[in-house]
Amino acid sequence: MKDKRWIVTGLVVFLLIVLFPFWYNRGRAVPPPEVKLTEKAKAEKECVLSRDYMKAEHMQILDLWRETVVREGNRIYTNPKGREFVMSLSNTCLDCHANKAEFCDKCHNYASVRPYCWDCHIENPKEAR
């Protein structure tokens, strides 16, 4: 145990480095992102389903849409209120939410989520059509 001094020092240094982000940011909370709705989205009042559902579960809907459109060839979604939507990320979702940077990306960046939708799907169909 003659190296006790060095081991303890090493441990302390290690803990300091590892815990650095915690004490450096103590007491400060990064404000949650505020998404901006476009005028068109505001006017619609409600998305495909209720706002709360879309906030929490939009990825489930997108997954369902993708599966249904590509694998089953069905492209029309009728919501419980009887309204019909063409199941398309670029052409339906982004038709209202044309401000991807201030809508999708805001939350995704905050939560460090990196969806690969945009590797293929075109970001804004409205722009320069």
Partner: protein, 260 residues
């Protein structure tokens, strides 16, 4: 207090049963008629048992006749153009008889007109597609209407399908195609690096009641319809004319017919 083992077990069982009361009640009390989202095809969806294309090659004399069709397809599907041949991506292209029908015909000397003629080749949407069997993730699959479809979300880029396809109808994205697109059709997605792509008989247009882009651009030189529907134009063309298909001896049953 004296409590017997049997009594404890009874109480435990009863408590466990009590916990299930609420979920069961909720499930039974839910209104069965409550509106739920419905998924379905659009009203204009075109249907068939097996889509086929019949190309009247007699009416395609030169490159100038086929170029607009290729352009129409590649433009709406965001197919990039690469200078580097190895990276080439094509959904539909023109080739000579000797390449399109190699092994099918043993003619050493062809009619001069046929020899020079451009033959449009594309994915044959085989009735017995080898690519579908080769795909380990079922990213490529046969739809009910006969279209051999690609699900780019599932493609892992293994290229087994390219090896399996006897027609070379599939292309691999060796690089991100986006910088190489001159025009982008904002209504259709692009692809990403590492996926395989090919012609899909314009499945997205059939859903809207439109015929494939190349058929539309051909202005009556290509028939499109249901192979098994005697009233369809494609069926009638096949009945009236002598047609060829590519590499039939392999048994893949191609769904693209050529009137020579």
């Amino acid at each position: 207090m004296d409590i017997r083992r049997r009594r404890i077990l009874q109480l435990l069982g009863l408590s466990a049963a009590a916990l299930t009361v609420k979920p069961v009640y909720d499930a039974l009390a839910a209104d069965p008629g409550a509106a739920r989202p419905k998924l379905g095809p659009g009203r204009e969806q075109l249907r068939a048992k097996q889509w086929v294309m019949v190309i009247d090659t007699r009416r395609f004399a030169s490159e100038a006749d086929v170029e607009p069709l290729i352009e129409a397809c590649h433009r709406i599907h965001n197919v990039p153009r690469f200078e580097l041949k190895r990276w080439e991506i094509k959904w539909i292209w023109a080739t000579e008889y000797k390449h399109a029908f190699s092994g099918t015909s043993s003619d050493r000397f062809l009619a001069a007109a046929v020899e020079k003629r451009p033959f449009l080749v594309l994915c044959n949407q085989c009735e017995n597609p080898p690519c579908v069997r080769a795909c380990p993730t079922q990213a490529t699959f046969k739809r009910e209407d006969g279209i051999v479809m690609m699900d780019f979300h599932r493609c892992i880029g293994c290229r087994f399908c390219m090896a399996a396809c006897p027609f070379g109808a599939r292309s691999f994205n060796y690089t991100d195609p986006r910088p190489y697109l001159k025009h982008t059709n904002k209504l259709f997605p692009t692809r990403m690096k590492g996926v395989v792509e090919k012609c899909s008989f314009c499945a997205e247009r059939l859903a809207e009641g439109k015929r494939p882009a190349c058929v539309e651009a051909a202005g009556g030189k290509i028939a499109f319809g249901d192979l098994y529907d005697p009233s369809s134009e494609a069926h009638q063309w096949i009945r009236k004319n002598y047609t060829l298909r590519r590499k039939v001896n392999l048994g893949t049953e191609p769904a693209v017919y050529y009137i020579v």
